[in-house]
């Protein structure tokens, strides 16, 4: 099969799945209950593209291949075609999206079992994969933007999936509105590019970039970066992501951890040769990433909802990826995207399995007449789950170790590479990179701490839910644990695609570097000053020490104190802890600065204008029509002969005129 046929199938199969799962049950309600059929179709249309992507990957190709399908729009010199571009970068992203996506679809069959809108869920998920593939395979910015908006729409639909609860639909709206801000910047960047380059296709942009003035270039890259902060939840637009956890857990795993939120990084990596020409903006990218990583990591320490911990952890890890992009190591950012997709999807799906079990506990408690409050996502009422959910516990622990960066796990390689690149960039004479590196080391320690905390509070210690002696959760079905096992194995082994530079001494090369950067489409900075081998060993040791130390420290701490450990931290940090607990009051800040003024302004200034001027005009037109017609309607006497007389007189007049 040729690459063009394969790409067509990869893109269109998920769309076909969305149509089948969305339309057939809509018009044929009996189908809605056949979960097996819907789940099989939904998973198959993602699994087959994954197999196709693997064959494309195994075929291998050195030159990027552009597959045009048709001209979307053409006006004068400007034309945009729906064309897909298959090269090393888009292929890696396609593999992650379809691979992790297929696992999460499989998981959803078990997780969403019995939901009233099972079919709708799979239709949305398939639509999401279709849009995400449009995003990563696009050959020009406009098709990429189509996918970008499409995944935003699916994110909105899926966050508000249980829309009967107002809280959920509010979270969906928040995500949608905050993403709009970033998308607006993205649009502005495209407008500038159309004016300066006259085309939106990547090859034309790369060719025309060096003719742009430095100011324009900086503006374009900065606007693209602002677009990326919206989609990838960076300061200042990150507050939507924790609220997005209102959606079902597979959605959090697929959209808000593994794929959609990394599209900002993909955008920067795709545009890397342009980004590299704007060093000032790169510094802003790296510093934003570093600050976001630190802020989110501290917030994560104080959260008690298992999914919110993971959400802030995602924000923090995305911050790490932006650090890598900011120091010119885009391929490392993509490397971390890949490994993060493995372990964070594993963590989210694990938390989903836990929530599944705790729902079971809640149902039993209610059945036995327990009437108190019970939140199945609250870690304070978990604990000791390792006895009841051994497979979930094992996979969650592996993923925790991986995200903490314990040596030889996936997270170790990618995070260490990021820190190394930041260090190297600082060594190369960029002062800001030292700051980024230092913050990165600190955040790595915090990451190990808060992730181990979430593991300890959930799986170790005593069971803290009501009547824990009598009521037990149970392990989830294979459709849930199967994907967990696969993802946990990948979290263990996935890092070996990106060995550190040190491995060259052993005759091993960094595969992902050569695949993406030296033989691929991702540009990188040529370092002038090289870090010595001794220093590199020292850095790796430091990274390992931080990870192992953080995990060991948190393990000891929470094994001894369990839930009381949170109290100890609160006492130790005092006011600072309150800031962490309340997410640094970002939401309150935005509420005061943006939301309230807009609502007040609308109510006080625009509402009177609306009712007086706009409504007034409409009412005046209506009143005029009423008055005129009340005068004219008296002509309608209802006497047919009067009408006939009018006709006859009219004919007579006409004839007289013609004769005259």
């Amino acid at each position: 099969m040729g690459a063009d046929r394969a790409i067509l199938l990869i893109v269109l199969l998920p769309a076909a799945g969305a149509v089948l799962n969305g339309l057939l049950p809509l018009f044929w309600p009996q189908l809605r209950r056949s979960e097996a059929l819907i789940g099989t179709i939904g998973t198959a249309v993602i699994a087959v593209p994954f197999v196709l992507a693997v064959t494309l990957f195994l075929q291998g190709f050195s030159e990027p291949e552009v597959v045009p399908f048709y001209t979307w729009m053409g006006a004068g010199d400007f034309s945009v075609s729906v064309a897909y571009r298959i090269d090393h970068l888009s292929l890696i992203m396609t593999l992650v999206v379809t691979g992790v996506g297929a696992l999460i679809h499989l998981y959803s069959i078990g997780y969403m079992h019995g939901d009233r809108s099972f079919w709708k869920f799979f239709a949305y998920l398939n639509l999401f994969i279709f849009m995400m593939l449009n995003l990563v395979l696009a050959d020009n910015l406009l098709v990429l933007f189509l996918g970008w908006e499409g995944v935003g729409l699916c994110s909105y639909l899926l966050i508000g999936f249980w829309y009967e609860d107002f809280k959920n639909s509010a979270a969906a709206t928040k995500a949608f509105v905050m993403n709009r801000i970033g998308d607006f910047a993205f649009l502005l960047a495209m407008f500038i590019l159309v004016r300066e380059v006259g085309s939106l296709s990547f090859s034309a942009i790369f060719a025309g970039a060096d003719q742009m003035s430095a100011g324009t270039l900086n503006a374009v890259v900065l606007l693209l970066f602002i677009g990326a902060t919206g989609k990838s939840a960076q300061i200042p637009l990150f507050t939507w992501l924790p609220d997005a956890m209102a959606g079902p857990t597979p959605v959090s795993a697929l959209i808000h951890a593994a794929t959609m939120v990394t599209s900002g990084l993909y955008l920067l990596a795709r545009m890397s040769s342009v980004v590299l020409m704007a060093p000032a903006v790169m510094a802003a990218i790296a510093v934003t990433g570093a600050v976001t990583a630190l802020v989110a990591a501290t917030i994560a320490i104080a959260q008690t909802d298992i999914k919110r911990v993971l959400a802030y952890s995602t924000v923090s890890q995305l911050g790490f990826m932006f650090m890598a992009s900011g120091v010119g190591a885009f391929f490392v950012a993509i490397f971390h995207v890949v490994t993060h997709a493995f372990f964070k999807a594993c963590l989210f799906l694990g938390s989903g399995s836990v929530i599944h079990g705790m729902h079971h506990v809640e149902r039993k408690l209610r059945h036995e007449g327990y009437n108190g409050a019970f939140d199945p996502q609250d870690m304070r009422t978990m604990g000791g789950l390792k006895r009841f959910m051994p497979q979930t516990r094992l996979t969650y622990m592996i993923a925790t170790l991986a995200i903490s960066g314990i040596p030889l796990t996936a997270g170790f390689f990618s995070k260490d590479e990021i820190l190394f690149k930041a260090f190297e960039f600082g060594y190369d004479g960029h002062a800001f990179a030292w700051f980024v590196w230092a913050v990165g080391i600190g955040t790595a320690l915090l990451t190990a701490f808060y992730m181990t905390r979430s593991y300890m509070l959930t799986f170790e210690g005593t069971s803290r839910w009501p009547r824990a002696a009598a009521v037990h959760p149970h392990e989830s079905p294979w459709t849930i644990t199967g994907p967990l096992m696969v993802l946990a194995s990948l979290s263990l082994a996935g890092g070996f695609i990106g060995l550190p530079k040190l491995a060259e001494k052993l005759g091993l090369s960094n595969w992902i570097h050569s695949y993406l950067a030296s033989h691929g489409p991702v540009a990188e900075i040529a370092a002038t000053a090289h870090v010595s081998t001794g220093m590199e060993i020292g850095l790796i040791l430091l990274g390992s020490l931080v990870a192992v130390g953080g995990v060991w420290w948190a393990w000891r701490f929470f094994a001894r104190h369990e839930l009381a450990g949170d109290g100890h931290i609160r006492v130790r940090f005092g006011g600072l802890y309150r800031w962490w607990k309340r997410s640094y009051f970002w939401d309150e800040f935005y509420g005061k600065v943006a939301v309230k003024p807009v609502i007040d302004g609308a109510e006080k200034a625009l509402a009177p204008l609306d009712s007086a001027v706009v409504d007034g005009l409409v009412n005046a037109v209506a009143r005029m029509a009423l008055r005129t017609s009340s005068m004219v309607r008296h002509l309608q006497t209802g006497v047919v002969q009067a009408y006939a007389l009018a006709i006859v007189l009219g004919v007579v007049v006409l004839i007289a005129l013609m004769a005259g």
Binding site: R633, H634, Q636, T637, G638, V639, V640, Q641, A644, V648
Partner: protein, 101 residues
Amino acid sequence: MEVALSWYLTLSAVLFVIGVAGVLFRSNLIVILMSVELMLNAANVALVALSQSMGEVSGQVLVFFVMSVAAAEAAIGLAIVIAIFRNKLTVDINNINLFKW
């Protein structure tokens, strides 16, 4: 004695005016219908006379169309009159004036 074309046309005009007057001023629906027939037949007389004098056959063909239209119109018109009569027990047009302001 040769009958001149103007005689026929005069007859046609007189018949037509009688028809118009009937439609406009009589109040019985059936008489109005008959007056409409009269107007149609006035047109027929004019058509036949002109066709004869101009040696053109298409005028006479047109008359057949007019006659079939007249037949259809009479059938439908009478059906409507009967329907109205069943509802209102009158065929006086002054009592049938629902469509007024």
